[in-house]
Subunit: 137 residues, 2 copies
DNA sequence: ATAAATTGTTACAGTAAGTGTAACATATAT
DNA sequence: ATATATGTTACACTTACTGTAACAATTTAT
C-alpha cells in the first residue's frame, strides 16, 4: 500500500469513526472503507500508538477517536502511519567518483527534497479531520 | 530506480556532459556517475527524445548536451524521465460504499496531491542545470 | 469459570515489481 | 569490411508487496 493510499484509507476510517461515539470493530470499519479487516487493524494500531484512536478488546470493544476531529491534523496521521519522513525521496549515493561532484549533487537534491518535504508537512498541518469532514458533507 | 534517483542520476550525467563539448560515450559517463552503461543509455535515450541531449552512433559518437545549461530546467528533466506526472500520488478508489463518502475523500486527496504537485513543478521550473553547476563548484 | 468477541501481531504462500546484465539490431565513421 | 556506438529487448534473479489466515492476549457476557 503506497503512502498516499495509506493516508486516504486512514482518513476514511477516521471519518467513519467520527460519525458517532460508539466504538466500531475492525470488520465494520473495513467494510465501509473497502479494505481487509486485518490490514485495517494494522493501520489503526499505528494510529492508536500515536494517540489518534483508542481501541478496546472484548465483546464491547472496537475503535473510536481519541481526540476531537478538530484536534486531529493530517500531518500527525501521516507521521503515525509512515515511519520514514513524509514524502521522503532518496538519492543514490553509492558511486565512486574521486572529485566529489556526485556527492555535491546528492547534497543539492537532499536539500531540495527536504525543502519540499517541509512545505508539504506545513500544508498538512493546516488540515484537520474536521475540515475534511466539513468539506465532504 | 526511484523517481528521485533517476532525477539525480540524470543531473549527474548532464553535469558531466557540460564539462566540455566533446561527445562522451555511455561507458565513460556511466563510470563517472557510478551506474551500469546500459541503464544509463536508457535514461539518456529518454532525455534525447525530449531534446535535452543529442546522441550519435559510430566511432565518433556519444552523448552531448542539445541545449545550453542555462536553458535546461529541472522540471523538463523530470518530465523526460518519468512518464507519470511529477511526484504523482495515488489513491485507492475501488471500494464499494453506497453513499459516496469515500469518493469525496478520494477527490479531496486527489485535489490536495495535485496542488502539491504544481508547487513542486513550479519549484523545479526555477532551477536550471547551470544554477546547479554553479552551486556545486 | 467458560464461552464469545475483539484487538494486535506474526507467518506465509502467492504475486508483482524492480534490478542488473547480456545480447543484438541499427547506425556511423575509418 | 571492421570497429564502435546507441537504442532496445529479453531474461534470470532478487526483492518487495499483498492478501489472508492464524493465534495469543484481552475483555465482556452468561
Amino acid at each position: 500500500m503506497s503512502a498516499s493510499t495509506k493516508l486516504s484509507t486512514s482518513v476514511k476510517a477516521l471519518c467513519f469513526l467520527a460519525l458517532d461515539d460508539k466504538p466500531k470493530n475492525s470488520t465494520e470499519i473495513a467494510a465501509s472503507v473497502g479494505i481487509n479487516a486485518s490490514k485495517l487493524r494494522k493501520l489503526l494500531s499505528m494510529l492508536g500508538k500515536s494517540g489518534i484512536v483508542k481501541s478496546d478488546s472484548g465483546m464491547l470493544g472496537g475503535f473510536s477517536l481519541a481526540k476531537k476531529p478538530e484536534e486531529i491534523h493530517l500531518q500527525e496521521i501521516y507521521c503515525a502511519i509512515e515511519d520514514r519522513k513524509a514524502f521522503y525521496l532518496n538519492v543514490n549515493d553509492d558511486n565512486l567518483e574521486e572529485n566529489g561532484r556526485s556527492e555535491k549533487i546528492n547534497h543539492f537534491f537532499l536539500d531540495l527534497f527536504s525543502e519540499i518535504q517541509v512545505e508539504i508537512e506545513n500544508k498538512m498541518t493546516d488540515i484537520t479531520l474536521k475540515s475534511i469532514i466539513d468539506r465532504i458533507k
